[in-house]
Amino acid sequence: MEAIWLYQFRLIVIGDSTVGKSCLIRRFTEGRFAQVSDPTVGVDFFSRLVEIEPGKRIKLQIWDTAGQERFRSITRAYYRNSVGGLLLFDITNRRSFQNVHEWLEETKVHVQPYQIVFVLVGHKCDLDTQRQVTRHEAEKLAAAYGMKYIETSARDAINVEKAFTDLTRDIYELVKRGDITIQEGWEGVKSGFVPNVVHSSEEVVKSERRCLC
């Protein structure tokens, strides 16, 4: 992993227990599918660089939250410092889709005064035969909340890259336009470092002075 990136975005991944949050993230960050995975305890952390334009890299810090209700008080604490989020449901589990609304309400309360750019993710799309949620209704729900909708599969590696990079691009555009700004005390977006650029006038002066050798 390289240390050079333009921005660092913190993304949070939420949704009901067992919809496949950790598997999706591991597919994205580790490139493999973990058949068996223990329920996430509290919160887990992953990171990956994404190149959104040639030479322009964004570091994603991905917070994988526990879906289990008992950890909710922990995961809530993470909404505030996230700039983006993937809200997952399992297309074979109608209940997890019905809870999307609840998840959005919950984040709204705890993210104040900031905002999270969400994408709605219908996960496990490889299990199309067991589908309980149609693409159409999911798209409708997403549109109602101003979100994009995408269907993914960690097992078959479908749309995993796209889900993360599209969200990253959207956030990047908002940052470029100034709709999202870097703020002191907020970890959602941080400025990265550009290689071989002198960072302060002090430094210029200094290197010149010291270079009299």
């Binding site: 390289e2 240390a3 509290g42 960072h199 002090e202 290197s207 010291r210 050798c213």
Partner: protein, 501 residues
Amino acid sequence: MSDKDDIETPVITEASSILEDGNCELAPNPESAEQSAKPEVNSEPVVFTRKRPESRPSIDLETSEVLPVEASQAAGKETVSKDVPQTGWGYWGSWGKSLLSSASATVATVGQGISNVIEKAETSLGIPSPSEISTEVKHATGETNAKDNANSSPMTGPFGVFSTISTAVQTTGRSVISGGLDALEFIGKKTMDVIAEGDPGFKRTKGLMNRNSTLSQVLREAKEKEELWTSNEVTVETDKKTHYGLLFDEFQGLSHLEALEMLSRESEMKVKSILNSLSGEELETLKHELEQLKEAFSLAEFCEEEEEEKEGDEDFTKEVTELFSQLHVSSKPEKLARARNNAYEWMSTSLGKPLEEKEEGEKQLETEKTEQISKNSIEDIHAFAIRSLAELTACSIELFHKTAALVLHGQKQEVTALERSRALSQMTIVLCKELSSLSKEFTTCLTTAGVNEKADILNPLITAVFLEASNSASYIQDAFQLLLPVLEISLIENKTELPEA
């Protein structure tokens, strides 16, 4: 004083010195661009074109008379505790403890810079072979003079050497050199103060640099500085290999630490408010019980010397797993055990260095050794050692974080907070001992592989490994302390049957 000139944030200093290297030094000495030199350049913006540490031993020797002055200055700031046995690195555990228990995580702030200076301390600890020092002195004398000129520093003689050392370290450095283990104690305890006082470059962050700053803040600072620095360097990939802070973050150690801090803070507030709401006998009973928890967290037995020099592979995994089962949390230390075993495997297979329990095979391996060692340069070993330490530490902190989450929000268990505290305390000791023996293994590898290297090349690498191991132990012990409020609130909740938050 030349350090006035050099006063800037260390990162910038380092960065600019790199520029300087690039502009002034690299041209006439293309070989200085060799990546083997990188770890050194990293840690210290020395103007040398070759490996930097030539001057170090000479610092010791030349300044031995002058140092008392410096030392007394330092003493004004801080009384160094001298009760550490001067028995060398073999007693790593002992100084590790004193370092650590005093929130010495701060050492990381100075990062590589300080490791250069510590080297000096290390020299007096006997790690480098003293026979090589005389050779170095010759080098050093020449280098020192050259450097003084280059710096146009008013400082001459012994102090001139320092003017090129990362500024943050300068102040510390002088004090440090005054003596072996005391110096390490000193670094551990007072690095932050010294930096804050002696380096206005830290202005911006000074607010953070006090005892109230959290471990993760300090580490984050260090990491960000390293990032800033590496981003100024062309060969990022090479350099990053030895940046403990960056690696620690890459293994998500920083995030887990922050998460643990968050849980710890919340718990602490809850404990306080509950204590405030109680009175009379109820309060006294509770206080007494909390006191017992605190005792379990005091790590009193850490410095006991009953420890075996070396434990087998299985023992560590078994021990940690056993302790974990005593905690009755559903999390398992597999990741940690894997990281640890990978480190040993790397050493035994790719280096051909036999583990001690495989001594029978040593002779056979001996023949292959020379060949294999050439494949792994001392820089490779050093980089892998730093990486392993960072990984092991990150895994340990992740375990503590998960433990905290499960203690707070897991299913009710038939285990008391006190029992858990004791198991965790024991685990901290095991982890720190493991870091100690791992670092010893790595340095043995380094010594073996670097048998033909000059001490001034080898010693800084050895020192860096020991330093980061001690830092690692510090982080783990600090993280362990963060668990106290978590167990306190767990004790209170079990006792008073408060509903879980």
